[in-house]
Amino acid sequence: VSRMSIRADRDVCIGAGMCVVAAPAVFDQDADGLVLLLLVEDSEGSTRPPPARR
């Protein structure tokens, strides 16, 4: 099983929303339009939904 790690840099985000279009289960936008991750990194370094969302 391959592992994927996702990081979002909100300082360079321009809020185009491309990520939400491409992968709505992984990305969202906050009220300012900047990227939000719907997945968090767990202790083994792989990304999973935040506990509340599982």
């Binding site: 321009i14 809020g15 185009a16 929303g17 491309m18 936008q29 300012d32």
Partner: protein, 397 residues
């Protein structure tokens, strides 16, 4: 009668396709010197990977444009006034400052709240088409008025003024007009938007101009508000309207794909992405100025030179997608550069997507037998226009 100027190489199309010479440049050298059409030479970038690299690097490839056409005799003060609020004329951090004020208005979620109203606008225009009867001109009766009304309501521009500003922006984007006419039209456009901004400053409404005044009034000058308004008004209706017109024409020429968009709701999203890629309405070339020596496709380009990114060839690059010349709406996916790339990626992309996802299937379901009312070869493409499209689209059903 004055002779129309030659269409610059990078804007030449063979119907929907880039001309053979453009495809050859992409295959062979990748980058080629070209006349821009406004009295300057540029390096034309034709490949998907190179276009992404240029547009993705605002540090080495600047929008702030040191370039100035020889016939541009405006004072420095006037030039600053004219570019105020024009996001495409700035680099970070100035660009970031303006863009961050607008981003909340164009989130994917925000667009979903507009969906019912857009669906209503589309249905109203389909009703009117049905009442007026066949044949119809789909550009004048559907493709242009829908995005125009949507952006007017969103921005806070009186739709009653549409005849005036549609004519102006249509002319402004025509490459073949004289510099004098362009300047006069730009002046009229600026005066019109200035008057709307003055109204919004006095009494800010619930629309986007009103929001900008209420939330950012202290940070924005009236000239910036006017520039933002002008840019969004032009960008909001010229682009989506030509995608609706050309997209419908493309589907009419591919009846099995038209049937998929009409009959299968799941086919609509991918179809919109594939039409954006295959049609490439922004065919003027996206201009940047190098800030340092760069290398593109093995060619060294010095600082202060113009680089012109060709979206039609990038969108048809086999490196982007296999069998790239073929339209196949079933395989459509985001990732194409039709909306650009990098910090200037189309602000209104979520709105444009929403409008197309509603309008295409609604049109095809209302008129399941939609067909061209003239022979296909009689549909004239707008060769001289900054945004590719058709002058008229006569249809019947």
């Amino acid at each position: 009668m004055t002779q129309a100027p030659a269409v610059p190489l990078h804007m030449r199309r063979d119907g929907f396709d880039p001309v053979e010479e453009m495809t050859r440049i992409r295959r062979d050298e990748g980058v080629s010197p070209v006349e821009t059409g406004f009295g300057a030479r540029a390096h034309l970038v034709t490949r998907y990977a190179d276009v992404r690299e240029v547009l993705g690097d605002a540090t080495r490839f600047s929008n702030a444009g040191a370039f100035r056409p020889p016939e541009d005799d405006r004072s420095d003060e006037q030039r600053e006034r004219d570019r105020a609020g024009m996001l495409l004329a700035f680099d970070p951090p100035e660009h970031t400052r303006l863009r961050r004020m607008l981003t909340p208005e164009f989130t994917v979620r925000r667009m979903r709240t507009l969906e019912p109203r857009i669906a209503e606008i589309v249905a109203d225009h389909l009703d009117a088409l049905e009442r007026a009867g066949r044949p119809a001109n789909l550009v004048a009766q559907f493709a242009l008025p829908i995005p125009s009304l949507v952006i007017c309501e969103l921005l806070g521009v009186p739709y009653a003024d549409r005849a005036e500003f549609q004519a102006r922006s249509g002319r402004l984007l025509d490459l073949s007009i004289s510099m004098d006419e362009r300047r006069e039209l730009a002046r009229e456009n600026q005066a019109y938007m200035d008057s709307l901004v003055a109204g919004a400053l006095a009494d800010p409404g619930e629309d986007m101009l009103g929001m900008l005044v209420r939330e950012h009034g202290a940070e924005l000058t009236a000239a910036e508000l006017s520039g933002i308004g002008s840019l969004l008004l032009i960008a909001g209706h010229e682009t989506t309207s030509n995608m609706l017109g050309l997209g419908t024409l493309a589907l009419l020429r591919h009846p099995d794909q038209l049937a998929a968009v009409r009959d299968d709701p799941a086919a609509v999203g991918p179809a919109v992405e594939e039409l954006l890629r295959w049609v490439s309405i922004v065919h003027t070339g996206v201009l940047r100025t190098t800030t340092t020596e760069v290398e593109i496709a093995g060619r060294r380009i010095g600082p202060g030179e113009l680089v012109l990114c060709a979206l039609p060839t990038a969108n048809r690059d086999p490196a982007l997608i296999a069998d790239s010349e073929r339209l196949d709406v079933r395989r459509g996916a985001p990732g194409h550069p039709a909306f650009g790339h990098g910090v200037h990626h189309c602000l209104g992309a979520p709105l444009a997507r929403m409008e197309m996802r509603i309008a295409f299937p609604a049109l095809l379901r209302r008129f399941p037998d939609l067909a061209l009312a003239v022979p296909a070869e009689d549909v004239a493409f707008r060769a001289y226009h900054f945004v590719y499209g058709v002058h008229a689209l006569p249809v019947t059903w």
